[in-house]
């Protein structure tokens, strides 16, 4: 299910989902906090398109796109955002803590760098089970400054584990420009310290991302040990809902908007004749309706029952 139309549709769906959440926060329909991935859709969609459907994905705090790209249902995601019983985490996790183990989405998580060792463990499990499944772990440029990143790369290399470390380098960790916090020029170089070949790619080109991940997946699946991919991209919105982006310029934002991953791909599809304007407009309308329905589903879903809390800590 990764035809050009599918890739376009998934990116458009993520964008629509994220922009809707932004609006719902602004109008107070969702509370708490959220980290939106608008602008980074080609990373999520391209990376997941390079995987097999029984592979596993570990996400981070900016995980809505990763989840949709893995096959998450926008209705159950929106319900989770709104703390409803029908949400993926039954209203307990919210924006930053969603998972669907049935489809191999092992969870988004609010602890920066926290998912990396867990992803390594999943890859260890797959290897010990003698399957040829692999793990892809999303993380940000900022997360690569945590000890967990370094420990994870080393562990995965020493044990030759089937894992792709996929860094979405959106140039900032909250307000901190990458080069203020990171001594190397590229995150990919950090692989050298662990004998992992790193690769820098255009994270706004969904096909480049898909091909890079598919190539890495083949090697990793074949037993060559871990891979590290650094996809250069940009987040359009603030880090979280309260951020006014004073640390970056409007010109820089504009430059990245000119390389919008969805528009770039649409242009390419038009040029090759794979999709025409009419078809694109139809997809856009369909994803809008899908998100409308997700909001409707979430809004009309029941609240969770507080009486069920106590029995739900242990298996």
């Amino acid at each position: 299910m990764n035809t050009p139309a599918d890739l376009y549709r998934k990116m458009a769906l993520i964008r629509e989902f994220e922009m809707r959440i932004d609006e719902m926060f602004a109008t107070g329909r969702i509370r708490g906090t959220t980290h939106l991935s608008a602008g980074q859709e080609a990373c999520a969609v391209g990376a997941c398109a390079g995987l097999r459907c029984d592979d596993a994905v570990v996400s981070n705090h900016r995980g809505h796109g990763h989840f949709i790209a893995t096959g998450g249902d926008p209705g159950a995601m929106m319900a989770e955002m709104m703390g409803k019983q029908t949400g993926y985490s039954r209203g307990r996790g919210g924006s930053q803590h969603m998972a669907c183990f049935d489809i191999g989405f092992l969870g988004s998580n609010g602890i920066t760098g926290g998912g990396l060792p867990v992803a390594v463990g999943a890859a260890l499990g797959f290897k010990m089970q003698k399957t040829d499944r692999i793990v892809l772990c999303f993380f940000g440029d900022g997360a690569s400054n945590q000890g967990t990143f370094h420990e994870s790369l080393n562990l995965a290399a020493v044990w030759r584990l089937p894992i792709i470390f996929f860094c979405e380098n959106n140039l900032y960790a909250m307000s901190t420009p990458m080069h203020d916090a990171t001594a190397v020029e590229n995150i990919a170089e950090r692989g050298n310290a662990y004998t992992i070949a790193g690769e820098v790619i255009d994270g706004n080109d969904v096909i480049a991302v898909r091909d890079a991940v598919a190539g890495a997946a083949e090697r990793v699946r074949g037993g060559s040990g871990p891979a590290l991919i650094e996809a250069m991209t940009y987040r359009y919105l603030g880090h979280s809902k309260s951020d006014k982006c004073e640390y970056r310029t409007r010109e820089e934002e504009q430059r990245w908007h000119e390389r919008d991953p969805i528009k770039l791909y649409a242009a390419r599809l038009r040029e090759s004749g794979e999709l025409d304007d009419g078809r694109i407009a139809r997809i856009d309308a369909e994803v809008k309706q899908q998100v409308d329905e997700a909001v409707e589903f979430a809004t009309t879903s029941p609240d969770p029952n507080p009486d069920e809390l106590e029995g739900s800590v242990f298996a």
Binding site: R31, G32, T33, G83, G93, G94, N145, A173
Partner: protein
Amino acid sequence: MPEPLTYSEAIREAMAEEMRRDGRVFLMGEDVALYGGAFRVTRGLLDEFGPGRIRNTPISESGIVGAGIGAALVGMRPIVEIMFMDFITLAVDQLVNHASKYRFMYGEQARVPLVVRAPAGGHRGYGPTHSQCLERLFFSMPGIKIAAPSTPADARGLLKAAIRDDNPVLFVESKILYPSLGDRPEEQAFAGKDDDIIPLGRARVAREGEHISVIAYSEMVVQAVRAAEALEAEGISLEVIDLRTLAPLDMARVLESVGKTGRAIVAEEGHRTGGPGAEIACRIVESCFYELDAPVRRVAAMDVPVPVSPLLERRVLPSAFDIASAARHLMNEA
């Protein structure tokens, strides 16, 4: 009289004043400079003190807390901001195996004048990894002091004391108190002066009463006072003790109050099991069992993670309502 300060302004001012008077004091943390931290507590400090003393760090909690210890060992007085208290877990080794032990372990040679500031608590819908009260992890460790103010004046006075203290101090900030204004205007008049430092280890009576002592710290003090106001109409009079610091723990003040009222409720926002409340309740029983008219009661969070849904979050976290119902039960038991 100067403008009343909010809790977060009081914290910022305490840091600024200490940095002005002592060149060894500096701040480091994630996004603390231009951005001013996730809760904007340090906003503006960069302008006055520059990037050398207001240091933005990579996302490396273990690294920056450890670096704080090292800098303290050689004579600096670092303040490290942990963006959400939940992330202090990444630095537990540095605090538990290093900061808290150096003085003792190296034969009293070392001094570790390090302050780690961390915003704690829920009620904002941030979910399980951004809502915790983790002072409990350090409460049972010898060698680390813990302050947890409930008012702007206390936040200011205790933070100044913490910065001047020669030991590691965990400074627990309540996220939901950040915008709150000082509720004791007469104390605000001291703002800007040096003589309003509040020594670590001295509890205060936040409200006098006769029937039940409510022992609390941080935001639960506000909840306790609210409960006290609500119960007044029912003829139940609560005395609210604000511990201010958990380590040192001012048990003398607590026991004095319980000795007077004969009943005690210990209130905390963290989980019920194994937290500071359990220890305090136990010490009350150890020391004044025969003066008690009823069993000691605890009000705390349920032993489940803090969920996102407002409905669930409200069920899990304790409130003035829970303190009031515990108080009614206590009066009926006597």
